[in-house]
C-alpha cells in the first residue's frame, strides 16, 4: 500500500468531479491510498499570482504546511496547483528574505513550514511509483485498436521538472500503450488549452482548444486522453461544442482523463470510472470495449 497526502484543488470538487471520481476509484485496486488533506484551502492558482505575488505565496504555503504535518509526499491531480505548489516550494526551500517573511506570517496563523514537502503530480506518481508493468497486469478490458491523442497539457511538464520532456513528453503515451491502446502522433500534446483565460477571454481559449482538437483529429485520433488536470479535461470535454459552433467543425473527440481510462481498463463501469460525468460522451466509442475479452488471470468485470 502506498500512502500520499492528496490535494485535489478547488476545481476537482466541481467541474473536475468526473476525474476526481476516477482517481479515487482506481486507488484501492492499485493499492494506493490518497489521503485528502484536512481542511485544505485554495492554492491560489494563476490568478492570485497576478493579483498579489506575495499573498499568493502565503496562500500556497498554507497547503504546504498542512502537507508537511502528514510527513507524506503531497500529490495533486491539477496541473495548475502542481505548478504553483512546486514554484512556492522551491522559493521557500531557499533561505532568504522571502521565506523568512512567509514563515513569520505562517507562525502568526499558528502554522510552520520547514521546506520538507515533496510536491508531485498524480500522473507522475502513477508512472514512476506504480509503473506501466503494474498497469498492464491489472487490465481486464484491453483497449486494442483504440486510437488516442495523448494530451499532457502545459503545466504538467513545464517550466521544467527534470523528468518527462517539457516539449514532447510521452508518459501518457507509454501508459496508454500498457493499457493496450494506440497513441497517435500528436505534436501539440504539451500545448496550452487556454483554460486560465476561458472565462474572461473566451475567444483566445477557444482558439487554442480548436488547434488541439484539429491536430488530434488530423492525426487520426478517436479520443483524447488527457492528464488529470480538471481544466485540461474540461477544455476538451466541455468546450468542444463551443469550438464546433465557432469554427463550424464537427469534432467528436471524447476527453478521457488517464485515470478514467485506467479505471475503465481495469474493469470498472462507466459510473464508477467517472466517465458518466463527461459532457462529450465516450459511451459510443467505448461500448465495443465493454464486451472485450476478459484476461484469464483477472476476475470478471462488473456489469454496467
Amino acid at each position: 500500500m502506498k500512502y500520499y497526502a492528496y490535494y485535489p484543488g478547488c476545481s476537482m470538487e466541481a467541474t473536475g468531479a468526473p476525474v476526481e471520481a476516477s482517481i479515487h476509484a482506481i486507488a484501492k485496486p492499485l493499492d494506493i491510498n490518497f489521503m485528502e488533506l484536512e481542511d485544505w484551502t485554495c492554492c491560489g492558482s494563476s490568478p492570485l499570482a497576478g493579483v498579489d505575488k506575495f499573498k499568493a505565496i502565503g496562500i500556497t504555503a498554507r497547503v504546504l504546511a498542512l502537507a508537511e504535518k502528514t510527513g507524506l509526499d503531497l500529490v495533486t491531480p491539477c496541473s495548475s496547483c502542481y505548478t504553483i505548489l512546486r514554484e512556492a516550494n522551491d522559493l521557500l526551500k531557499e533561505d532568504h528574505d522571502l521565506s523568512d517573511k512567509i514563515r513569520s506570517t505562517l507562525s502568526a496563523a499558528g502554522m510552520t513550514y520547514n521546506g520538507t514537502v515533496n510536491v508531485r503530480h498524480v500522473v507522475e506518481v502513477l508512472f514512476n511509483d506504480l509503473g506501466t508493468d503494474v498497469l498492464k497486469s491489472k487490465i481486464v478490458r484491453p483497449l486494442t485498436g483504440l486510437k488516442v491523442a495523448c494530451y499532457h497539457g502545459c503545466q504538467q511538464v513545464r517550466p521544467s521538472y527534470g523528468y518527462d520532456d517539457p516539449e514532447y513528453p510521452d508518459w501518457l503515451d507509454k501508459m496508454v500503450v500498457s493499457l493496450g491502446a494506440e497513441p497517435v502522433n500528436f505534436p501539440l500534446k504539451a500545448r496550452c488549452c487556454g483554460s486560465s483565460l476561458v472565462i474572461s477571454e473566451p475567444d483566445t481559449a477557444i482558439e487554442l482548444i480548436y488547434k488541439l482538437l484539429q491536430n488530434a483529429s488530423d492525426n487520426g485520433a478517436q479520443a483524447i486522453v488527457t492528464t488529470t488536470c480538471p481544466l485540461c479535461h474540461l477544455a476538451i470535454d466541455g468546450y468542444q461544442a463551443s469550438v464546433n459552433r465557432k469554427y463550424k467543425t464537427k469534432f467528436n473527440l471524447p476527453a478521457l482523463a488517464i485515470t478514467q481510462l485506467i479505471a475503465f481498463a481495469i474493469g470498472l463501469d462507466f459510473k464508477a470510472s467517472g466517465l458518466i460525468g463527461n459532457i462529450t460522451s465516450p459511451k459510443n466509442l467505448l461500448r465495443p470495449f465493454m464486451e472485450a475479452k476478459i484476461s484469464s488471470t483477472e476476475a470478471e468485470a462488473p456489469a454496467t
Partner: protein, 184 residues
Amino acid sequence: MSDNGQATFLEQVASLPACEKINECIQCGVCSGSCSTATRWEYPPRKVIAMVRAGMKDELLKSNSIWFCVSCYLCTARCPRDIKPANIIHGLESIALQEGYKPPTKTTTMYRTFAASITDYGRVYEFGFMLKYFLKTNPLAALNMLPLAIGLFSHGRMPLTAKKVKGKDQLNIIINRLSTGGDR
C-alpha cells in the same frame, strides 16, 4: 535608484519573487516567438521586458499585453538566460492590480473575483465565482455559457452551494498579513 530615492520601475519588478534576472535579458525574442497567444498582445513578452527596463510603466500597464498570458510556460522553458518571463508577467499583473491600473481587459475583474472567492470561502466556489464575474462584467455574455452550464449541472459538476471550510479563518490571517512589497 532614481533621484528621490524611490525605486525605479525596473527595480520594483526585479524585487518580486523569481523576477531578479530581468536585467540579464538579451532581447533574443524566444519568449515572444514561443508565446501561445503573442499575436493578441499589444506588446509581445520580449517587448514588455524592454519596456520595463526603459521605465515605461504607464504605457505598459495601461495596455492589454500582459493579460493574455495563459501561463503555458513555453517562454520560461526556452529562455536562454533563464529569466522566467512568465513570472515577470505575473509580477507585472500584480503591480498593475495593486496600483489600480485599468487595462482594457476583463481578466482583471476575473482575477479579483477569483481572489475574493478565496477570502470569502477559503476555496474557489466555482458557481458563485462565475455568477459574480458575469454580473460584474457583462450578464448577457453569460448566455453564451448557458449550454455548457446546463451540461455541467446535469452531470453533477456544478454544485450550487459552497462547502464550509474551517481553514478559511486561518487562511485569512495569512492573507491579511501579506501584500505586494518590494521597494515601493
